[in-house]
Symmetry: C2
Subunit: 204 residues, 2 copies
């Protein structure tokens, strides 16, 4: 048997690069949101026709979810990187300054697609709205777990409330996404980051 077919090198080869096309799709979803993006918007930006899009990505919803995966692995990679910093304060610092740099970066749309991709939306977008909501909540849970560890490590006071700290940080990060949409610059967001850190407890 061994019908693995992992390398479907048979048949006519694809005329476009899947990853590049996905980047283009992410750009459109990021700027226009799920409801505001039409298939025409997508095929035009991706440089392919509808049947190619459906063959390669399933449908609009699955394409969106794949674009979000790409977003988290590339433009939003600073989030997971920050979690690995040695102390809770450094985690917060790295995450806030990373967000300040990234969300107002003119090299891509402003803000965060996980925040603004499907915040208020039609019933047709309920699935992707839920997916984004889950990502936001999971991000905060990762932060909370990291701060619990910091209390064990001793770089956060034992009296610190890890859950509230994580929610405070999540609130500011999500607020920064709106600020970037408002036209705030990276420097202005850095000032917000600095103020946010003033309320952040530290043992060292």
């Amino acid at each position: 048997m061994s019908v693995v077919s992992c390398t479907p090198s048979m048949g006519r080869p694809r005329a476009f690069d899947v990853d590049t096309a996905l980047e283009k799709a992410l750009d459109v979803f990021w700027r226009k949101g799920y409801d505001g993006t039409s298939l025409s918007d997508l095929t035009e930006a991706m440089g392919i026709n509808k049947p190619s899009l459906y063959a390669a990505f399933g449908n609009k919803e699955q394409l969106f979810l794949k674009a979000i995966e790409l977003y988290e692995s590339r433009p939003c990679a600073f989030f997971l990187q920050a979690l690995e910093k040695p102390t809770a304060y450094q985690v917060a610092e790295h995450m806030l300054y990373g967000a300040a740099m990234n969300m107002a970066d003119q090299a891509h749309p402003q803000g965060c697609v996980v925040v603004q991709g499907a915040l208020s939306c039609s019933e047709a977008a309920a699935t992707v709205k839920e997916a984004l909501l889950n990502r936001r909540v999971e991000g905060e849970q990762k932060l909370r777990a990291r701060f619990e560890q910091a209390k064990l490590d001793g770089d956060l006071p034992a009296t610190a409330d890890a859950e509230t700290l994580a929610r405070y940080l999540g609130t500011v990060l999500q607020g920064m996404a709106i600020q970037a949409n408002n036209g705030a610059t990276s420097e202005q967001l850095r000032q917000v980051a600095a103020m946010t850190l003033q309320a952040f407890p530290r043992n060292n």
Copy 2:
């Protein structure tokens, strides 16, 4: 002449209450956003037919803008009220706790329609997106002006940066809107408010 016609008590009277219908429209726009709301959604929620909607409110875009005015004068009235508190710290306090109470209030959709009504959207929604963006920026400018006054009044240190304080507060308030969409409770948002105030300077 005197063709003022301020009281159009002539002709068949309207069979619905304009203000009630506008409240219903606000509710739909708040939950679904501008792009995610169809005219069918609106007419169904408002209990009227399309021609009545167009006669009373112009079109979808003008209806949205009128709904936003209603939002600012009612559910979001705490914002302007907070600006009148005697000190900068009390302004921030009242605004943060007011937002915590309001944005997670189960009596209406969660969050803030000025934030989530048209954040990322289609080109058809460009006008309302711009209108909401302006409201957010103007709100922050009002905060900044209030804090400038507070420096003159002496209840903020002369070294305080009114612009950054306003942006920090705006960031947290807008972040709270996302948090409320994430399912955060008023009590959880109050904890965020308390942390936010820890970074807030005060002379008294």
